[in-house]
Point group: C2
Chain length 423, copies 2
Amino acid sequence: MSARAGIVVTGTEVLTGRIQDRNGPWIAERLLELGVELAHITICGDRPGDIEAQLRFLAAEGVDLIVTTGGLGPTADDMTVATVARFCGRELVLDSRVEDMIADIVAGLMVRFPNVDPEAIRAANRKQALIPEGAHVLDPVGTAPGVVVPGKPTVVVLPGPPRELQPMWKVAVQTPAVQEAIAHRTAYRQETVRMFGLPESGLADTLRDAEHRVTGFDRLEITTCLRRGEIEIVTRYEPDDAGAYADLMTLLRERHGNDIFSEDGSTVDEQVARLLTGRWIATAESCTAGLLAARLTERPGSSAYVAGGVVSYSNQAKSELLGVDPGLIETHGAVSEPVAEAMAAGAMRRFGADTAIAITGIAGPGGGTPEKPVGTVCFSLMLADGRTVTRTLQLPGNRADVRERSTTVAMHLLRRALAGDGA
Amino acid sequence: MSARAGIVVTGTEVLTGRIQDRNGPWIAERLLELGVELAHITICGDRPGDIEAQLRFLAAEGVDLIVTTGGLGPTADDMTVATVARFCGRELVLDSRVEDMIADIVAGLMVRFPNVDPEAIRAANRKQALIPEGAHVLDPVGTAPGVVVPGKPTVVVLPGPPRELQPMWKVAVQTPAVQEAIAHRTAYRQETVRMFGLPESGLADTLRDAEHRVTGFDRLEITTCLRRGEIEIVTRYEPDDAGAYADLMTLLRERHGNDIFSEDGSTVDEQVARLLTGRWIATAESCTAGLLAARLTERPGSSAYVAGGVVSYSNQAKSELLGVDPGLIETHGAVSEPVAEAMAAGAMRRFGADTAIAITGIAGPGGGTPEKPVGTVCFSLMLADGRTVTRTLQLPGNRADVRERSTTVAMHLLRRALAGDGA
């Protein structure tokens, strides 16, 4: 029996859908890496009664570890620490070391706001220095400290902002209380395979066959997920079942070898970044309007291979900035393969690049015609050696979906062309 | 006492963070609009035991309505309907009308996949036609029907894909069972105020004063949230407390009038789109690399005012495509106000625009210096009448944060300049 955990996400703004929770999924992945089984994520508002009900529920379900996120701010609606203390049957005590630490941090921030009453600030921050008796303090990354309260279950209390939560989680995991709570975790292996270009039902068919053909298939915990047009297959298994996983992989490669682009968990973004090393790429984007350039530059160090791009949203921009012949646009339309090719050629020339990619399409909701309905997108990829790959696809979904999916298609065109296995 | 609801989100891929749940937030908003109070969202994997534990928890918390999402597919790991039936103490019965309806839908889909065994498909879909006795069937939008099971609580079972769930929710709400479950809802009002440029602690200070100065303040349910550098204040109240809300707004306007940019729930994106009507805008982006252009074109119809943009990631691109004097870059550095201004002027000229905005900064993690640390970002906004607004800011966070925050700052520069209230 593996160690089990639950996550309590607090915050009315998350519960009501005004902001999307990024912490639950992030902690879920960390727990998975540790081999701790996540049973439940629960989300509630800032009401102490609801938070406490969720803590009691998770404890009753027998989890070894509870991680809470949010509700550590200076305002009165932030009640998580007090609620956890009551749940754990511990008094709140003022930790003067923590109080001084917060005061120092806040003093630095307040230099820019001389009109705020310092005594009011100090009162607010004293609230944040109240710690459940006997708890381990997680020093603040922002202004809010977290705590680890030992017990059965052990409760880790973390702040809401992801850039504070993430480094504080790493500290929390090292505390004796958390190590003890997760001592019975199972050493699972987890492998990820990514495919592009296969319908999900085709994979389902192969997995049904695998039930008969792969010995030990039922001991592999497989989840498949269609995301951004890619299929992700995640398999968890205990080390003894590595043979079954190897047999499954043999079957997948036999059936879908052309569609598998990653067996080591690497993403298309990582692969394209690696393939672009030593190259100099330029983009020409119409319907995606900068999303591809932004995606190519998400990674530190991308300035070594990204020259830049043109967002040629108007036809005039296509002609003026990329040198696309206006006659070409008039003859074939702005969303056409000849225009996509001219855009790529223009970007290559204007940026002095050796790799260029162009996207022009109809993201909708307006602008579709019977011949070119919404979702029609033309791509052209050009390399300095003269190779050109041009494609027109029909992409599903709404405006945002078409724009995002177009960006993903462009990444795969790049990957295939640069890896030299055709497209 | 208002009607209360809970949402159960099922799916291992959601629990483990591999896909982000979009249904919980969407249903949360719909419940809010109806005046139903959402107490909890719970997320679990595809295990019947965990799903049932969450249903029992919500029932024990006294909710009137439970909405479940996901787990209605044809594969064996989709168990939601069977689990809900057991929880509600009802038998599953085959609904032949539903069975025929699914068969018709699937027959249409399978035309493209002639090699799949039709008998296997039919067996899989028979599972989806098993309905809890006495439940109301929600006809499928995709291939999976939903159900409404009357009782205390009433349970609405919806599929996972948002484009199926959303229309089916609208049907579910109209059923007598749901109408009865939410009969005691309260007609809340909800107002949203958005601010930019104020630290959260400054607002906390004002809200503490409001406790004394605003009669009925304790009956306002206020949540504040810092997001993308903006503070969002959402207040819910019963209609009788409108006076208290009006008094709170008077106080907020007195103290923070300059920072409030929205009192009607509108976002900066909506305001900028409105202000750009009749204009022609071009962007020049370095560190944000297309994120601003992509944001400006998120809205349908933006081609009426977005000319395009240049992602001038390399210095060469700044000179070649935007006409920035290389000497200027050498003297002041690529991240400097003179270069930002030259980029904006270049974009204005190259796109024939009447509004141009440039961003150049150090998103990190590398590239910082003692004079220009990571997070230093220069902005320049230029209008055809000669007005120019140039600013250098120091933005917090990691690479992604700096890039996103820069985009938001640019939107606010645009808003202020175009609304004519200076910047």
